[in-house]
């Protein structure tokens, strides 16, 4: 029943619904005051080293075996294909004297492994990515080589968007301020910041952001990736050293590579290794010449998006001060979502932001907008405004995005609609803790710290990823599965991104289904120091227990 027309993603007709329904679909109303939790500041206390649960050996063996089978089949497939079906493998062969875009070897993983589960990625959606997300139905053909679209869509519970505080909405204060800004400033910005790309709204947003994160000044950019990727080359050069956490985001790596600075990675969150490395580097200086480094910059992320772990800020600040290094913290996921006041890692650890040299973050996640910022002391920002490539050559942020950012920031601080921001902060804190503890009690292996809104649940075998993702989609739950190269080879996982827009009942629904699917797919493989709970008991007791830190200790 496939015609040419429905090979394309259809434009979704919006269902007629009342404003109340629309609001509830975007942001679920709070069902009880019980389901709030006020995140506590750690008052400068460093994190204890997390003990990661490990799966039984047979799970590891099965995972490797799984990859082995996939690799062998893939190579057989390649051999047969390149021998007998040359016309179907044109894109990896030389053609008219031109080398292929991707060689056979480079694209093997994509063609033979990823393609098999491609239906779990890039699902087209429509509408607001709020509490529910409308996924456009599609049917995969010929091992995901093409899709047809019947023209319908399904409302799914949204555990996939980075909508931590639930500001992805099309009703309310943020939306109306965005609409007003379009009237006043137009749809687009007129050019780079140094040339008509600066409006009053840019200046006021920058002030607001600086105040929010606790720095003297800030700059805003139109893309989070771009803020990182084009930042480091303005402050670093090949005679500088970057000490980077091994799990840092690609944008940081790209940016550092562009600057030409030398990079040394340290094991994720391992402060002893870091200290040794810093000492070693200061003493030995640059390789070959042994001249001292010009600057040493420690780069970490506030909340690591694949692990749910946080940087050990108190320890980092101590090291940074002791060895006169600079500290750069990427708060892409933590700003807004972490800390009693939503002001990120400094707020969470109870450390003054003046101890950090550069604070970077994005507006895509917690604020429901787009773009990123860099905040630092005024003297640094003043210089960066003249030096950064993005401000001089790249586009500026459109007004509507700034308006959304400003308004959501003001709601979080309580300046607008007092109480709403606090409720959002307390809801995401409760939801994250509830889901995490409940999954642990059900017997799943979950990574990360108690308060992280990113809840990665380990699946291990690569074949369990599509199984889990598809079964969840059947149950109308949208989840994100991640595998190598974003994670270590055997640690394929599903990443639940918790949102303040979800109600406790939504999480109950999720838990029941994850429990059922988990049983079927043998995912409950935690080492079982504590007895596994029954799903009904979990739902009954966890909402109270999750407010107590004791239960999160392994």
């Amino acid at each position: 029943m496939s015609s040419i027309a429905n090979l394309k993603v259809p434009l979704v007709e919006f269902p007629e619904q009342s404003v109340e329904d629309k609001k509830a679909n975007e942001f679920g109303p709070l069902t009880s005051k019980e389901y709030l939790y006020e995140m506590k500041s750690r008052n400068g206390e460093p994190l204890q080293e997390l003990i990661l649960d490990t799966p039984p050996y047979y799970v590891v063996v099965i995972t490797y075996l799984n990859y082995l089978i996939l690799l062998i089949l893939g190579h057989i497939h390649d051999f047969l294909g390149l021998t007998f079906q040359k016309d179907r493998h044109q894109d990896i062969m030389e053609k008219d004297g031109l080398a292929p875009w991707f060689s056979k070897f480079e694209s093997f993983y994509v063609r033979r492994l990823k393609l098999r589960i491609d239906d779990c990625f890039s699902r087209p959606t429509a509408g607001v990515p709020g509490r529910f997300i409308s996924c456009i139905d599609r049917i995969a053909h010929n091992l995901n080589s093409f899709y047809t679209y019947p023209g319908t869509s399904t409302m799914c519970l949204n555990l996939s968007s980075y909508n931590y505080l639930g500001f992805a909405q099309s009703e309310g204060l943020c939306t109306s301020s965005a609409l007003d800004s379009i009237d006043k400033y137009g749809v687009c910005a007129g050019g780079p910041r140094t040339q008509l790309g600066t409006s009053e709204l840019h200046i006021s947003t920058e002030k607001l952001v600086a105040e929010f994160v606790g720095k003297e000044d800030a700059m805003v950019f139109s893309q989070g990736y771009g803020s990182n990727a084009n930042f480091f080359n303005s402050i670093l050069d090949p005679k500088c050293l970057v000490i980077s956490d091994e799990l840092n985001h690609t944008s940081i790596r790209t940016g550092v590579r562009l600057s030409g600075a030398t990079v040394k990675a340290f094991k994720h969150n391992n402060m002893e290794v870091l200290e040794k490395l810093i000492k070693d580097q200061i003493v030995n200086g640059q390789p070959k010449t042994h001249r001292p480094w010009k600057k040493i910059l420690i780069c970490v992320e506030g909340l690591f998006s694949m692990e749910g772990t946080m940087c050990n800020l108190p320890k980092l600040v101590e090291l940074k001060k002791k060895y006169k290094c600079y500290l750069y913290v990427d708060e892409a996921h933590s700003i807004g979502a972490i800390g009693p006041n939503g002001r990120g890692v400094c707020d969470y650890f109870g450390i003054s932001p003046s101890n950090l040299d550069i604070m970077m973050g994005t507006f895509t996640k917690s604020f429901g907008a787009a773009g990123g910022y860099i905040a630092a002391d005024k003297s640094i920002i003043d210089r960066l405004r003249c030096d950064l490539t993005t401000t001089n050559y790249g586009e500026s942020v459109p007004a509507a995005v700034l308006a959304q950012t400003c308004t959501s920031l003001r709601i979080i601080t309580g300046e607008l609609n007092p109480g709403e921001g606090l409720e959002r902060l307390q809801r995401i804190a409760f939801n994250s803790r509830y889901l995490r503890l409940a999954l642990k009690r059900l017997g799943f292996i979950v990574y990360g710290i108690a308060d992280s809104p990113v809840v990665p649940m380990l699946l291990y075998a690569p074949s369990k990823m599509p199984a889990f993702s598809r079964m969840m989609l059947q149950r109308k739950i949208a989840v994100v599965v991640v595998a190598y190269p974003a994670t270590p080879l055997i640690e394929s996982r599903v990443r639940f991104c918790v949102s303040a827009a979800l109600t406790k009942e939504d999480i109950d629904y999720l838990l029941r289904h994850v429990n059922e699917v988990g049983e079927k797919l043998f995912l409950k493989v935690s080492s079982g120091k504590t007895a596994r709970w029954d799903i009904e008991d979990v739902i009954k007791h966890t909402p109270v227990d999750c407010k107590d830190d004791r239960f999160f200790a392994n």
């Binding site: 890039s122 990727a229 210089r383 003249c386 994100v480």
Partner: protein, 550 residues
């Protein structure tokens, strides 16, 4: 038990040692024999020892060496054993080290920030209200000759309505990368629209225009690949080439003979080297140069690309929506089909199309690989949906009626003709840009520059390269700075006395690795009328003459 007869009896060995070793030997033999199949090994060793006793010695030595090697502590590669430092010395070194400040002092360049015009109204209209220097200078309703929104189509009420409707349906942000539920139906539809409008198989959307080249090129290149690029490319492409890991060659700006010669040389070298794998080869240029505003000879480039088996990447940030009778870019300008002539087109939605973000056009295979391997696509959140629908709507308007583009051409040509034809200005300034460029690039004549500021383009480039090679943290050229301030004076006069907002061509010396020409930019807008146009011409002319004569 008799001791084994391996030693002559003349050597006196304590009895206890003989006894222990013979017992050990006996039990070892027993143990070895107990392993099933071990007699094969024993027979083999015996036979080989009989044939060649020296071999046994060598093998025993090898085994011992293997064990020693295995047990030795691993030594780090490239690590040199320097003299061991005592703890006290280490402490002293740690104490002694002083880092440079994170950013240089801003005082010398701060005047630039103060001169930035802060807009108080929509930048898409012909007149804007601006303030400068923290609100100390105010200008109302000045003529807008600085906006990149050349077509000014996004100021149409219908486009604003589409944007607002989208916000009411989709909210603002997409809250996720394209791979994880961030791509909405409107995103895919804009990709269809772009591909259809510009005549390619596929299009890939990006969140920011400046990142695209620096993401697309490294996605396809690796060590050993070859890139041949124009030597006046913008910083976006310079960044891309730096990230590409490939061998980069530059050819003289728009000089096709130089390019052909270079390609010929490279071909000869390749034939001589007879490489095991065919490298990917790219020619990289811009559709309308960001720094100069001129147009490369595309037909010749395409001919060379076909002859020497290269792929062609054209950064059309400033030419899409501007060049060609319907705004379809440089290929339409030269009447060539885009599909066959350009392999990768990089375009911006934030310039003539009046939205935000950018895109890369090309065939299906290339686009598919981009969606997996291009970092700015996979690791970044999708564009806000209102920017997407705005762009779709602007494309629709462009398709429906070509008068806007035609009007823009007329205005740019008139502006160009005025400055090229003006006799008074002739001896002071050069026009770098093409007559069809919607940004007019003005620069001081080389002898004027030398006379007033004591440097030339070449000497500036030499100085920049020298600083670059030394990795200086502060890249500051006094003479260049003086000229920049001089150019800013022209901008100021035009703004203060005539209410015309033009801009300097802003460069950051720190990031420019190719030659640059300081100058002024006048941006055209399609909605400008003839009266406004003549105001621009007269005011800029007066400002230039006034500043020069001072």
């Amino acid at each position: 038990m008799q001791p084994p007869a391996v030693l002559p009896s003349s050597i006196v060995v304590p009895d206890i040692i003989l006894r222990i070793s013979s017992y050990l030997w006996y039990y070892c033999q027993n143990a070895v024999n107990a392993i099933p199949g071990s007699h094969f090994v024993v027979d083999y060793v015996k036979r080989s020892h009989q044939h060649d006793p020296y071999r046994t010695i060598v093998e025993v030595f090898l085994i011992i060496y293997g064990i020693v090697y295995f047990l030795r502590k691993p030594r780090k590669q490239g690590f040199q054993d320097g003299p061991k430092l005592s703890n006290k010395e280490v402490e002293a070194l740690l104490d002694e080290w002083q880092p440079e400040p994170l950013a240089n002092d801003a005082s010398k360049v701060e005047w630039r920030t103060q001169k930035i015009a802060v807009v108080q109204s929509s930048t898409s209209s012909s007149h804007v209200d601006v303030v400068r220097d923290d609100g100390k200078e105010r200008f109302t309703s000045v003529l807008n000759c600085s906006s990149y929104n050349f077509l000014q189509l996004s100021a149409e009420p219908s486009v604003a309505k589409v944007a607002k409707d989208t916000v009411r349906r989709y909210g603002v942000g997409a809250c996720g990368p394209a791979g994880f539920y961030g791509n909405q139906d409107v995103h895919t539809h804009l990709e269809y629209d772009l591909a259809r409008f510009f005549g390619t198989e596929n299009a890939v959307l990006y969140g920011q225009d400046f990142c695209i080249a620096a993401s697309v090129i490294p996605a396809f290149t690796k060590r050993g690949d070859v890139i041949v690029a124009d030597n006046r490319c913008s910083v976006a492409i310079q960044n891309a080439l730096q990230l590409s890991r490939s061998t980069v060659y530059y050819f003289e700006h728009n000089d096709m003979e130089a390019l052909e010669e270079l390609l010929q040389q490279l071909q000869e070298r390749e034939l001589k080297d007879s490489l095991p794998v065919l490298p990917r080869k790219f020619i990289v240029t811009e559709g309308l140069f960001h720094n100069l505003g001129d147009i490369p000879p595309l037909p010749k480039l395409v001919e060379l690309k076909h002859r020497y088996k290269y792929r062609l990447l054209v950064d059309e940030t400033f030419s899409l929506g501007v060049l060609g009778s319907t705004g379809r870019g440089i290929t339409e300008y030269f009447n060539m089909p885009r599909k066959e002539s350009v392999d990768i087109t990089v375009g911006s939605l934030a310039t003539a199309l009046g939205s935000s973000g950018g895109f890369a056009l090309g065939d299906n295979v290339m686009s598919l690989h981009q969606r997996i391997g291009s970092h700015a696509y996979t690791f970044s959140a999708s564009l806000p949906s209102f920017a997407v629908t705005t762009a779709s709507e602007v494309l629709k308007l462009l398709e429906k009626d070509r008068t806007t583009v035609e009007r823009l051409h007329i205005i740019s040509q008139k502006l160009h003709n005025f400055f090229v034809g003006d006799k008074e200005l002739k001896s002071y300034i050069d026009i770098l840009s093409d007559k069809d460029s919607s940004v007019l690039h003005l620069t001081l004549k080389e002898d004027i520059r030398n006379e007033f500021f004591g440097y030339t383009e070449d000497s500036l480039f030499d100085e920049m390269s020298a600083m670059h090679n030394k990795y200086l943290s502060e890249k500051y050229v006094e003479n260049y700075e003086v000229e920049e301030k001089f150019l800013q004076q022209i901008v100021d006069i035009a703004l203060v006395e005539f209410g015309v907002l033009i801009s300097r061509n802003t460069f950051v010396l720190k990031h420019e690795t190719l030659p640059i020409t300081p100058g002024l930019k006048i941006c055209c807008g399609a909605k400008m009328n003839d009266q406004e146009l003549s105001l621009v011409c007269e005011s800029v002319k007066t400002a230039i003459l006034k500043t020069l004569k001072v």
